[in-house]
């Protein structure tokens, strides 16, 4: 039984339909990349899962159809969504940002904090600074660290590499790999297809709000049209 299943999910922003019946499934422990051009509906697909956009069609999580999805109810079910643009609490300290990640859990265990700081030592150095004073890369680390504090079953990430230096991007994807190894299911939306396909186990390709291709990441990597359109070689 897959951990997450989308069946014919449609989503619209007012008049504009962003998803035209997306069907995909993600197994527990999987690392899935969602690829596609700008405006293909990648972000909306994540938002449909976390309940931040109105949808029709079915979203199944842990075998159950989830009817009234709200971000807070999905968070309580173990879904952590890191939106694009490093959503952090700018005026709160780094430490408070991490603590709020554990909101859905009972208390903040020092061990979880230590764990995040082990992944991102730079956050420890800046733990008392306001999040708004961090660099872009550090903010992305903080957003990811906050998601780690929730100990999610399913981690949704939107464009984690956007605007970051290659070294930072590598660090972030290495962290994702380790989280995945320790059992967290990950769905990542990425424009950088090369990077995403290297890290992920499975991948889906969205075009104009539909899944046009899906399968094992290495197969997609080898696919002629994917290579030409998204990998550029």
């Amino acid at each position: 039984m897959p951990l997450l299943e989308l069946r014919d999910v449609e989503a619209r922003y007012g008049e504009i339909r962003a998803l035209h019946g997306v069907t995909l499934s993600v197994a527990e422990g999987d690392f899935v990349a969602i690829l596609g051009a700008n405006g293909a509906g990648k972000t909306t697909a994540l938002r449909a899962i976390s309940g931040t956009v109105k949808t029709s069609g079915d979203v199944l999580y842990d075998g159950h159809k989830i009817f009234r999805r709200t971000p807070e109810s999905m968070a309580r079910r173990g879904v952590a969504h890191v939106p694009e643009g490093r959503g952090t609490f700018m005026t709160l300290s780094v430490l408070d940002n991490l603590r709020i990640g554990a909101w859905v859990r009972r208390g903040t265990s020092p061990r979880d904090l230590a764990n995040v700081f082990e992944f991102f030592p730079r956050l420890y150095e800046r733990r008392d600074q306001q999040a708004g004073t961090l660099s872009g890369g550090e903010q992305q680390m903080l957003a990811l660290g906050r998601a780690m504090m929730a100990k999610p079953r399913l981690l949704l990430l939107d464009e984690p590499s956007l605007g970051l230096a290659p070294l930072v991007v590598r660090e972030i994807f290495a962290t994702l790999g380790r989280m995945n190894e320790s059992g967290t299911t990950i769905v990542v939306v990425e424009q950088n297809a090369t990077l995403a396909l290297r890290a992920a186990k499975h991948a889906f390709l969205l075009e104009a709000g539909r899944v046009v291709l899906g399968g094992v990441a290495s197969d997609l990597q080898a696919n002629e049209s994917v290579r030409r359109s998204y990998l550029g070689y």
Binding site: T52, E72, T133
Partner: protein
């Protein structure tokens, strides 16, 4: 010198009241962007409730405790019923709504309790107490202590508890807070409840010296707004310190600058604020947002 110290302490007492009300205003403004013009009338209503309980034979402290609980519930209820439907709407609509609330609560007070001023016997006697040869009023000292206690307790709640963290997160970035699992509407309602509690403290502390009547908090509300602006509209500490500074300053000006006396105090307050804002537009403790993109 003795007179100067007495005036400072008595100014701190009024300042504590301005500060509590200013803090209530700032808490709501920070959390929701709403300027609650009804905060003063809510405080008056709380004072009336407390007075009624005492009038029915309750001792002061149980009546005060019950008033605080009722005010909290009232603040939450007000947010859920009146404020919530238009939250996030145009700013002007929200402002007009809270002004409407001001008028409605004021009318309610007059309807229930009448417009005549009532004597409110506070818990502290007005008898002087000697500290190092200077006579202070016990009431002033008591009011300062209670106001500071209320402010410190609210401060600790925000800074040290998980609930406080949720309140701050919901105020800073509601969308992200929801993604983290925080129930933002509940936090907003809670914020209104806590603001109502601070207002209740201010109202009950002000009532013995101001006489209880429906318009009791009118001027206090203006001073509280002044204090909030002085401290920086989004800084809780600034609101409290702004209130204290304003209280002391007005008292000293009223005492030592004879041609100003009681009537021009409000004008002095506004002049002070204007000059501060000319130098520091964000207020004394306000932050111009630091942000790296």
């Amino acid at each position: 010198m003795a007179n100067f110290l007495q005036q400072v302490v008595s100014g701190l007492a009024s300042g504590g009241i301005y500060g509590s009300l200013a803090l209530a205003i700032v808490l709501i403004h920070r959390a929701t962007g709403v300027l609650n013009f009804a905060q003063g009338e809510m405080a008056t209503l709380s004072a009336f409730v407390c007075w009624t309980l005492i009038d029915h034979g309750w001792a002061f402290w149980p009546a005060f405790g019950a008033t605080i609980v009722l005010s909290f519930a009232g603040g939450v209820a007000l947010q859920r019923t009146v404020i919530r439907p238009i939250q996030g709407g145009p700013l002007l609509g929200v402002v007009i709504l809270t002004i409407g609330l001001l008028i409605a609560i004021n009318g309610l007070d007059t309807w229930i309790w009448g417009g005549a001023a009532k004597q409110f016997h506070g818990p502290f006697s007005t008898a002087p107490i000697n500290v190092a040869g200077v006579a202070f009023s016990k009431q002033d000292i008591g009011v300062i202590a209670i106001s500071i206690l209320a402010v410190v307790l609210i401060g600790l709640l925000f800074a040290k508890t998980k609930l406080g963290l949720g309140l701050r997160a919901a105020a800073t970035n509601p969308d992200e807070a929801r993604l983290a699992g925080v129930c933002v509407p509940a936090m907003l309602a809670l914020g209104w409840g806590l603001a109502a509690v601070l207002g209740a403290v201010a109202g009950v502390m002000a009532a013995p010296s101001l006489f209880l009547e429906p318009n009791m908090m009118r001027t206090v509300l203006l001073y509280a707004f002044a204090a909030a602006v002085l401290g920086g509209m989004d800084s809780p500490i600034g609101a409290v310190i702004g209130g204290l500074v304003l209280g002391v300053l007005l008292n000293l000006v009223g005492t030592y600058v004879h041609w100003i006396g009681g009537e021009l105090r409000l004008a002095v307050a506004l002049a002070v604020i204007l000059s501060v804002l000319l130098v520091r537009p964000a207020g004394l403790f306000g932050q111009t947002a630091v942000r790296r993109v």
